[in-house]
Symmetry: C3
């Protein structure tokens, strides 16, 4: 049984036999990236194999496409999620692929309870489209945040790493106000100004803490919109020092190739959690090594499972498969080489699959 603390929506039936969408959902490359190169990745071929074996056809693209076209898609998705062991999904509603099921639709099809994660920057950009002025904008942003728990959100997420980077700092309201004016003059709708992004993050934090909602941070690799040099979670140090000491809890998403650095943070600060999502499944051939490196310093009470998957069920399947294989190998070795009691290793297996998410997000 696996609780995924960070993923996105699944494509609805219309795209059920679109293998280009499969290739595109197993990469962080933009649409300008050659499809041909995506076909030269291990994860694409393993996803084909997952399909072929479930559809009982050969691994050839054409055979798989034909079989998918005539499959009962809802049943196919359910079987795959079921086989992968998914029991709960936390969906980031800030990114939804075109043609995806609604949260309700997905919950119904899969038969898996879904909880929502609120993306801060998306919320602020939406509020911006209707806000009269700075005060109205901030008011709308804060009001929605204050109702987050009540509105069914179990946590929030920041993608500030993609915009101005993880070296976050407090910003005076007057600076934010001035940048808002600049942004309005430019008729900009996308938040990219560091002052505004930082201001909004520091504004949101106490509101989330007041509702005991943890905050997820995109860290490490992602689409090329990110400057990976600004995605090192070590850059969050002063933010962590300030808020985590007051009881704030954060989850460092993805973290690769900074997963060792993230593990260090989890090992010395209360309230810091992490995952190696996205690398699982994308870095298929390295999935166990990456997980094991992340676990060098991370306490087993601080590792979370996430797939960061979207669009195709095979992506969720592989993330779960890689996580399980990597964890099994890790836990076996703790028993055989590090004299950890089998009962302790069993507790840890449970914790990383479910218990840690349950505790962090306060859900059952």
């Amino acid at each position: 049984m696996l609780w995924d603390h960070h993923c996105h929506a699944l494509l609805a039936e219309t795209a059920k036999s679109d293998l280009d969408r499969l290739a595109r959902c197993l990469t962080e490359a933009p649409s300008t990236y050659p499809l041909e190169d995506l076909h030269h990745g291990v994860v694409f071929h393993q996803a084909l194999a997952v399909m072929a074996s479930r559809l009982d056809v050969s691994c050839e693209t054409a055979a798989v496409e034909r079989a998918l076209a005539s499959v009962d898609y809802a049943d196919y998705c359910q079987r795959i999620f079921n086989e992968a062991g998914y029991a709960r999904l936390l969906v980031d509603t800030g990114y939804t692929p075109m043609g995806a099921w609604s949260i309700d639709g997905m919950e119904k099809v899969l038969g898996i309870p879904i909880r929502k994660i609120l993306r801060l920057e998306t919320l602020a950009e939406k509020a911006l489209t209707v806000a009269r002025d700075f005060d109205d904008w901030i008011d709308r942003y804060q009001r929605t945040l204050k109702e987050a728990r009540h509105d069914g959100y179990v946590g929030a997420k920041s993608i500030i790493a993609y915009r101005s980077g993880l070296h976050v700092v407090p910003v005076e309201e007057t600076r934010a106000r001035a940048q808002f004016v600049v942004m309005r003059q430019r008729e900009a709708t996308r938040l990219v100004d560091p002052d505004l992004l930082n201001y909004l993050l520091y504004l949101a934090t106490p509101i989330l803490m007041g509702q005991n909602l943890p905050l997820q941070f995109h860290t490490g690799f992602g689409d090329p919109d990110t400057d990976l040099l600004q995605g090192n979670p070590l850059l969050l140090r002063s933010y962590i020092e300030e808020f985590v000491s007051q009881g704030h809890r954060i989850a460092l998403l993805h973290t690769y190739p900074y997963h060792r650095e993230a593990g260090y943070l989890a090992s010395v600060y209360p309230g810091v959690y992490l995952d190696v999502s996205l690398a699982l499944p994308l870095a298929a051939s390295g999935s166990s090594r990456i997980l094991h490196e992340a676990l060098e310093l991370t306490p087993l009470s601080r590792l979370l499972f996430a797939s960061d998957s979207h669009s195709r069920p095979e992506s969720y399947f592989l993330a779960a498969k890689f996580f399980r294989e990597g964890m099994n190998a890790f836990l076996d070795r703790t028993v055989t080489r590090h004299q950890v009691l089998a009962s302790v290793a069993e507790n840890w297996a449970h914790a990383v699959a479910k218990g840690n998410v349950e505790r962090l997000y306060g859900i059952e």
Copy 2:
């Protein structure tokens, strides 16, 4: 037989059955970090197992505590250090846990010769408490340094990584003088000013070189007082270029997660040594991988063993065990896969366990 070129003092008998102290000495987390999370680390459980097997009880915390309470503690410590193969310890006297044995007491209990390492920043802070003015301060600092070899020290250590970071630069005396005035006005006792820290480091270096004393640098991870971004040993480049070319020798301590970077430095500069202490034992499950990565570029004549352990004997035991296991696996493979002669591999085993420390610190 193992020579540890960097460790700290051991707790005396009064704390002999305190398992919380065990958990706390197997982490770099501060006292505000939940004990519960420390119990979810591999290294804590392996330390329990080390105790249980030596005390002939089961691995349950309560059983271990009961057995420890009635053990002959000095004998227990001696047995563990003996079994781990320790033959010489270089103790950094700049950090001593509360309730520790004196150097003499520890030497007597363990039956192992101990040599001392002088910590620069601690020396400067002590001198500050009695110094009349800047000149008097610098004079006291330099006088103690000049007597270091004579006073039984075999090397020095800098923790500038913890204070202003490893991007060290020469500083004019006038700037240092001005910052000293500021520090006095604030009645500060802790050295944090970059100008003063750098000034003191550059002042110490030729004095150490004059006595052929190597300088250890804290690099890589440590307690959260450190900004890990400032702990990358590559930041030492200009210092290395300046002094190592003149015959100065430095040891990069810990290095994780920058152990590959440290290995690179050792591979292109004379006089640069390194260890993966602290990660061994803390990153228990990754100890062999980390050691092997450090050895990708590092010549076998430049790797040192250190535990960086303090407080509990089990910590020293695990550091030694992990180092030996990792080295054995490495050396075996150099013979079987890289056609290294068995006699060469044997020499290397001796060098990393003892010979390199002996040569670097000029001790027998």
Copy 3:
């Protein structure tokens, strides 16, 4: 069969039994680095073993030297390159060891076709020695570049990482002009000014693109002339964003210890290729791990083989051997653990050994 897309020239017969040259060509350390430490590296001993087995003598230095002194050196070199499977070499003419064969001589001795790579900074420095003024200098630089394909070059290379670092930016002609004056006043012959280096890089790029010539970048480790902090390929981001979107193709050389970062770039940008040369063969004991880490995100259509070897044939031999061993292990696992079809894995083996170089450089 292996195509090496980046290497240097081989020493001619006069140095055939010089084992110090062997040790020196298996490191990036300068001549001031102790030879003794080089003898404590795995790669040196494995190179000795390669010699000993081909010369049918024991692995002792003296025996190997004696045998080498009387060997038919051209035949010996040819045998080693042949056994290693080399079928094509792309030689960077910007660095040639003292006493090396000419390109023609090397081609004849080895019986392997060689193509040339043009080093930008070397070209600019040569042009500088004869240029009357800035305009004449730039004119000579551009003219040679425009004739590159016609003159037999199949690609270019930049070592800007060694000089001002990989954070490259466009520079106005007026700034470049001003720095040229400064350089002339100082009678400098070595290009180190960031403005000039960046100006020349941005000037060269469209000229290379016009001839469909890819550009190699030195990244990652190298001799201590490089500040490794400035060698992170992530620093190239804005250059990549600007030119790769227009069809420019670049090869990130070496990349270690930033090979995962390089793999990320290849996975999200069209036209970005990489290798782990230099680490293969220098980081002998870690060669498979490093290659596997690089392949976590890199599509198999983007990995290249290079040895970056020079001087001694044993260096080329080991680079090829490590690459083949690492790739075989990797591809086997893609089949057994990731359900990749054997036919796909075979295509990938061909692509990384030859096909990718062929396509990138437009040679057959």
